[in-house]
Symmetry: C4
Subunit: 423 residues, 4 copies
């Protein structure tokens, strides 16, 4: 029955020996403090995937930051005089780095046989633009400080590695009609109010309201509630109109936000579902379920990609989720001999069944993909699928009783449980 | 069984011959780039309906843009001197175009027997207003630059063809009570804070806070967080009050946004449901389902109206949805002879069943209405309706095996599959 | 069977005779125009309940608007000189009106035996405050223009009749903890950034950043993105800090909005459910359903309170909802003899079953409470409850066939159906 | 059967005697006023838990407010001269208070055996930072007014006791990827628009657009719609670009808000579920339900922690919820002898079953944890679980009939029911 829901790669005599719940009586006096530390370690925990990004990607980001800073500094006359040479050298170095990066990517694409597609893709275009813009400008005889301004195209590299930006782009595409409607409304209000304001104010203020383009400038700054303050109506009617325009601006904000919020939520849910679905089918634990139940569960699970040697669970922390291993391997640090769990296994369920305190450190031994099931969803899932609850319960009981036996044996042998491994 | 879920208009020997999955081993090295290109082609894809708008509507938009620009330029004294005649001629041309458009529409309405209704409708009123406002002003002896300002009513034509604006109007109507409540709150805060500010500041700053109307002007600019900066409290109490007003402004924003976001989401869902419902009933594939299941499916499908000769699917792209043809016809570009699919058929399911790479180009041969089923909803749908899954699976298998046979035959005959048709 | 789902108060020979679908072939050429007119009539339709407010409430609002305008004008020195007497008289008249209103309300409360509760309620307090504030100030020897400023408390009367404001107040109460959390975050960012800005800038700009209160003033204006522009950092570090503060401001906005939007949506849903629940149980049509189904339906229906002699449905309009009469009576304007429907009956279902064009005018004969079922919800409801669908269908068929018979008879008799009654 | 759903600690002869519905015929003439009073008492009701905070926490907040005010005042030169000594003394007192608080907390932690964890927690760090920052600065020879600026770290104490801030932190963590995507978009728009603006404007305005950092400053102020007004484009192209940037700013707002709103709603729902789950299982009334039903109910209930001697229900008020006692005890103020209800009992159901008027005052006798079931959820719950409805109904009937008997007896005995206890 155990094999039915988790492949346990046992490196010791029995799984989870030595993991003892002696932190169960942890005083919760500093509750809020614990919450905060949890939040912080949880940041480290969730940003783990960033590290998987790889060293090359991190280096890209650092070079990008240096390059953009140098380019920015290069436009300041005083720095140009005192440190112009060094800044210029720095910029050339960044350009060289991007050139190498571009060549590496192009070669990978050529080897994979999709060179044409790579060049036509946005990624390839951004690489090329960042590479050739400045040299071409310099060759055309543009002065260096102006030519290097074209290095601001490097900032587009931020979009190369971001699935979130692709997601946002898709939201804009799907909601295009609704956004176009709000924009039409925006334009109608803008044009009519600016024309009216031009009529009302252009005699009194020939500067800021003397022409319709100037009035439109006021209209945009007011309708977006930016309010530069360079064009301000002075007549009573103008001010009343202006108040109406400001309130229309808030309404535009509201509609825009409503559309984007709704679209973003729907798109995120859809994207997560697709990414999680394939992983769920790889976990043997769920294979006994009918497809409709798997659909439910897929909506509950969150994907987490963790690099090698990353701590997933720390002993003594409050635990509010359990984990299924979709790919990779983790090591449970139990005292006599650590236990390894491979793809298909689950861990972290003891805290959910018991007093919500983690009983052992768990660390990845290779880059792994985990599926997280939050406590709230765990309750809902086990309420609707009693057989899953039984399976998790029996494994949890087995592990806890094994721990208990070990603890008893240690206590008889006089070995006090050490607290190393905690932070 | 095939006839049960799709009317295949076969122009060749067998459906989908020659569509080969040889792009299945496509390297996904440039994933992010692909995502972006997808987003871009997807924009072209989704904005397809705009083209259906028709040439006349597009011309209207161009004339509108030219007219509004000319009108804006006409208010600038320097341009009025140097290019006044040309701008004036341009404006008269635009007016002539709108007059013709107005006459055409009116004649259509008269022929349809609803002339009275047309004139009373907003569309007819906007047409008429745009047509007569400027000539009447000129006849009344208003100077041309001022009279042409009335051409800004042309911007209302943006609202004539926009279902999104009608949707937004409906949201405001349905949420009128709640919005009135927030507006009342806004007025209360505005009036009380302005009166208090007038008391606090009018001795020190007789200009910006010398009268209650002036204080109200400060109140509006602050409560909408526009902050022109022409009226700024100087006393300590005034600044504290001002801070409270700004925070109330954020809260008003939040409530306004919350109401509009909720209302917009509900209204969009309702509108989509109604538009999709009638189409779903025309697809024979869904006719075996009970009404409750059809209600579920209607919530999942999205409508897409595509003009003639538009590419729906491009071979080699990542596919995350399948299509049902509610009306119209598409052509699947398979090598020896293309296949045509008519109303009631479906396509694009091979990518969802297999490795998510599109295996053939699909183009419309006439203006068509498609129903899109996203991957996430496809999974949910097939999980809850195993019979639908079986029907899609068996058709997909049939098509793939037909492709496989053709590929084998071509390989024996030595004809390498060409890659034209990709981009 | 008919009696089972609607009490028809028949004033003619048979229900719905003479209502003929001859508008079924209505050209939809001016679709967008129709959409707009619909939106406008729908505004009139939905704001109908405002009229129920009663003449006295409308008069209150008018007197309030006049009073506040007069009070505002009274603070302007030039108007005070030229029209001071008339403004003062106007204000005294408003005060007299509010005094009468206050007395009437108090007497009603005394008669109902809850005088104490009335005085302690916000409504009573607002009445009293508006009444005594100005006279007491005048008695204390305050100059009239200043004393009349206290009339700005009248604006609180806007909150007296508004259930939406009570709803908003409840949202703030329920979400108090979360809002307090965001406010704490706001204060932390505000204080730390202002202290840092004071350190960075107070040497360079002793005016706007010379003291911590001044820096806090900058902080509030920046964190709320108001940006008055009176205090602007000049140092590089100051500007980077300022950029961070602005972005924190957007995040605060986002959190605030998110909390209020979520809370408002939940509270509205709950309030609507409670208000609709009692009405649903009065409609015999729904009494055959089990309680769980009634719960579903209650979420779908919207309440609409309509005063006497209000048009609910206009013939020839596009119809997207049907109505159940919870209380009151409507008259269906059918040619030979109009038909009256009382509480428990339904109407408007013919458009949903057929070609979505309304076939007759329907007007209330007394103040009525209707329950609206939108087309989308109608589809869902009938899909899940086939018996309801059968009942509605059979009544719809009966009414349509009666109309058909009458139409045939009229055609034989040569009497062309007149089109009066349309607009 | 009674014991099955509520442990009644009866202190009198029979439960709920003397509670009479004589307020059932309460005139609802001042409906809006009642709504408001309800909202206000409901604030007092919901903020009850704040009082549980304890006197020490309240004292902390007061000392914090005094300390921050004194520190702010200390930076103003005029106050420094006139009241420097008093302010300094006040600040030292606050520091002393925080030192004592810090020592108390540390001792509690040491006694609980988690001293190390306390120091490493955010709570401990904030305590320490607030304690040592100023003395160290003074010892290092920093002038007192500057050194005391470091007391602004005290504001972090606001985050120590706030679960809402921990919740917000978690939302940011979970939504980190999406927020990073929006931030990348923000940076791309910011950099490209600022570079373009620098090119367009730096010749004409060497001040505000003379360098790229200056242009970036304009970009941030515009993209966040703060609009200080110190850098304003003058060229036509610059203004058009600026308008685009402002609209991008609104879109960024919208995305940010959408992400945070969605994340916050999901996180709140999850947190509430977890907190409520354990309490639900302690109420015997729900123990007969299957786990899936308990999951449903857990989503419906809200937790409310009430300190000792707090009024939960006031007689004569409109009631829209019922209460289950998860822990603690309440006293129902019935005339001859009050009744006490302990953990597991419920109250407040009579208003939901009858005319929605509360029939008795209910007050806590010890700190209690209640579960609130709103009227809308009560309807849904009882519709789906008829057995629960029966149990509540029979208890309600029993209580009401007991009240009725008592009322009859009192009436015969001539004892008019007094109205004391109402407010």
């Amino acid at each position: 029955m155990e094999g039915g829901f988790g492949r346990v790669i046992s490196t010791g005599r029995s799984g989870f020996n030595g993991v003892i719940c002696y932190r169960g009586n942890l005083s919760r006096a500093c509750g809020a403090g614990v919450l905060f530390k949890d939040a912080l370690t949880s940041i480290a925990h969730h940003t783990g995937p960033l590290r998987r990004f790889g060293a090359s990607s991190l280096a890209s980001m650092v070079v990008l930051a240096i390059g953009l800073s140098a380019m920015t500094a290069y436009t300041m006359p005083e720095l140009q005089k005192t440190a112009g040479g060094r800044l210029s050298a720095c910029l050339w170095c960044c350009l060289a780095y991007f050139a190498i990066e571009c060549v590496v990517r192009a070669r990978t694409a050529v080897r994979a046989g999709n060179a044409k597609q790579h060049i036509l893709s946005l990624s390839g275009f951004v690489d090329l633009l960042g590479l050739v813009a400045v040299p071409i400008a310099l060759l055309c005889g543009v002065a260096p400080p102006t030519a290097w301004l074209l290095a601001s195209f490097w900032v587009l590299k931020l979009a190369q590695n971001s699935p979130a930006i692709a997601l946002i782009a898709r939201v804009f595409v799907v909601e295009a009609k609704a956004l176009a409607g709000v924009s039409a409304l925006f334009l109608i209000v803008l044009f009519l109010s600016s024309a009216a304001m031009y009529v009302l104010e252009h005699d009194q203020q020939p500067g800021p309201f003397g022409t319709l383009p100037a009035a439109l400038w006021w209209g945009v700054a007011t309708l977006t509630t930016t309010g530069y303050g360079d064009a301000i109506p002075l007549t009573h009617l103008g001010r009343i109109l202006s108040a109406v325009v400001m309130i229309c601006g808030i309404a535009t904000f509201g509609l825009w936000t409503g559309i984007l919020a709704t679209g973003f939520a729907a798109e995120t849910r859809r994207r997560n579902f697709i990414q999680t679905w394939d992983l769920v089918s790889t976990v043997p634990f769920f294979q006994s379920l009918d497809p409709a139940a798997i659909t439910d569960i897929t909506h509950m699970l969150r994907r987490l990609e963790v690099p090698e040697r990353t701590a997933i669970i720390r002993r003594g922390k409050v635990g509010d989720c359990m984990y299924f291993i979709a790919a990779g391997e983790v090591q449970v640090d139990i005292k006599p001999t650590p236990v390894r769990l491979g793809a298909g296994a689950f861990f972290g369920e003891i805290a959910l069944l018991g007093d919500s305190i983690r009983t052992a450190n768990v660390t990845t031994t290779m880059p792994s993909t985990l599926l997280i099931l939050d406590l709230a969803d765990f309750r809902t899932l086990t309420a609707n699928h009693p057989d899953l609850k039984r399976a998790i319960d029996s494994e949890g009981q087995r592990r806890m009783s094994a721990n208990q036996q070990l603890r008893d044996r240690q206590r008889l042998g006089g070995a006090a449980p050490s607290r190393t491994g905690e932070t």
